[in-house]
Amino acid sequence: MPKNAGTGKWRKLPNRIEGTVMATPNTPLWEVFIRSRNGLAHKHVGSLHASDATMALQNARDLYTRRGEGLSIWVVPSNAITASDPAEKGMMFEPAESKIYRHPTFYEVPDEVGHM
């Protein structure tokens, strides 16, 4: 997960470690997604730093596919991701939770009909 994902209105950045001098400039952060096999979706595997997209792809290759873990890689700038707020997960997901009639088991089909 990107540390800065989301709008930031609900979470201020945590305290910096005390006594640190920022001597080295920060390199942009990227999220890495890998398609592990034909027919599967890309899946988030982690993040890395790189100054541009080409280097992010090359670094992702070296960092996350040293043992043939992937057929395809996506890299996305971490700050391009908008995340939902975990503190509001109740409000966010409640509408789905209360609608049990969206599930097949809600409906009764006579046994004689067999599998449906």
């Binding site: 990107p2 390199t27 730093h49 070296d62």
Partner: protein, 330 residues
């Protein structure tokens, strides 16, 4: 009376709110829920994990040095390829871990700077020298073996990103230990000189490896809260004992002697080891081990000499951004 309440309410409310949040947080931990980066967490939890994960990352990175020392001198192409792949893996472990630490709000750059300035610690074990090829065998067998003992329970750590990084790391570690043991088997079946080399390496590494598990339980300052937060699942002494019990038969198979004449098996089947020299451990942690200065100098040199690469990459990315903006404006 009312105003008095108003005067104090601000701080008190925050305190009460934090206490309520802390209780809810602990309830999530007790229910084996994973804590994720954007979830609320006590400041001390964040601080403890940032320190632990970044120290773990530094250890992986500094840990490349003693083994890197032997890549060009590996006795065969097979050994050289394996060692190179192992050292690359350790670099990867360091990077997974820095990424996990960053989800807590620190930046990799500042964590690395803390290490380079000597303010952050890394594992004491990497301050010992690799004098012969047998040391590469012992490192894989025992140092990675001990690391695995430590890391397996961390796969169930309460902090999601750390646990996930550990799962990746553990998958990769097993090759590290096996290639080390294979080196030991080869030496143990070799000439008298090779056997002596294997025994000498074991003699030098045994006690420092036992120290890897950290101070004895009575003396460990971080254990209580870490256990309550399910960052730590076993105590230092429990893990050390597990490691010793697993290692003794492996040494016996090699025909090597563990350099602890007082060691004996108790009725429960556990191997009881002699007292560990914790003064040595403290000395190494304080910067006075055989290679502390060397390791720091090597890390600083690599960082300084890599500066132009980082700057060039940034300058190139900047140039490309400008060009794209200019093209878009046409």
């Amino acid at each position: 009376m009312y105003t008095q309440a108003l005067n104090t309410s601000d701080a008190d409310d925050r305190h009460i709110e934090d206490a309520a949040r802390a209780a809810a947080f602990q309830a999530r931990i007790d229910a084996e829920e994973r804590i994720e980066p954007n979830d609320w967490m006590p400041a001390a939890y964040r601080k403890t994990l940032t320190r632990q994960i970044s120290q773990h990352a530094h250890s992986e990175i500094v840990g490349m040095l003693p083994e890197g020392n032997w890549i060009t001198r590996a006795p065969s192409l097979r050994r050289k390829a394996a060692l190179l792949a192992k050292v690359q893996d350790e670099c990867g472990h360091g990077l997974y871990l820095y990424a996990a630490a960053e989800t807590l709000g620190a930046s990799r750059e500042e964590l690395v700077d803390l290490m380079l300035s000597g303010k952050a610690k890394y594992s004491s074990i990497f301050n010992y020298p690799t004098l012969t090829w047998a040391d590469i065998g012992v490192i894989g067998w025992l140092v990675d073996g001990a690391a695995i003992m430590n890391q397996i329970p961390l796969c169930r750590c309460s902090y999601g990103p750390y646990a996930r990084a550990m799962i990746r790391v553990c998958k990769e570690e097993s090759f590290h230990q096996r290639q080390g043991y294979e080196i030991m088997v080869t030496l143990a079946r070799g000439t008298e000189e090779q056997k002596a080399m294997a025994q000498d390496a074991l003699n030098r590494w045994w006690w420092p490896v036992l120290m890897m598990f950290g101070p004895p339980d009575q003396a460990s300052q971080h254990s209580d809260t870490s256990t309550r937060w399910k960052i730590k699942r076993f105590s230092n002494d429990e893990l050390r004992q597990k490691f010793v019990d697993a290692t003794v038969p492996q040494a016996q198979y090699l025909g090597l002697t563990i350099p602890d004449p007082g060691m004996k098996q108790n009725e429960a089947g556990h191997w009881e080891y002699s007292a560990i020299d914790w003064d040595e451990f403290k000395q190494v942690l304080a910067g006075n081990g055989p290679c502390n200065r060397d390791r720091m100098a090597a890390r600083r040199k690599a960082h300084d000499e890599g500066a132009w690469v980082r700057e060039a990459a940034e300058a190139y990315a900047e140039k490309r951004r400008h060009r794209q903006v200019a093209q878009a404006a046409e």
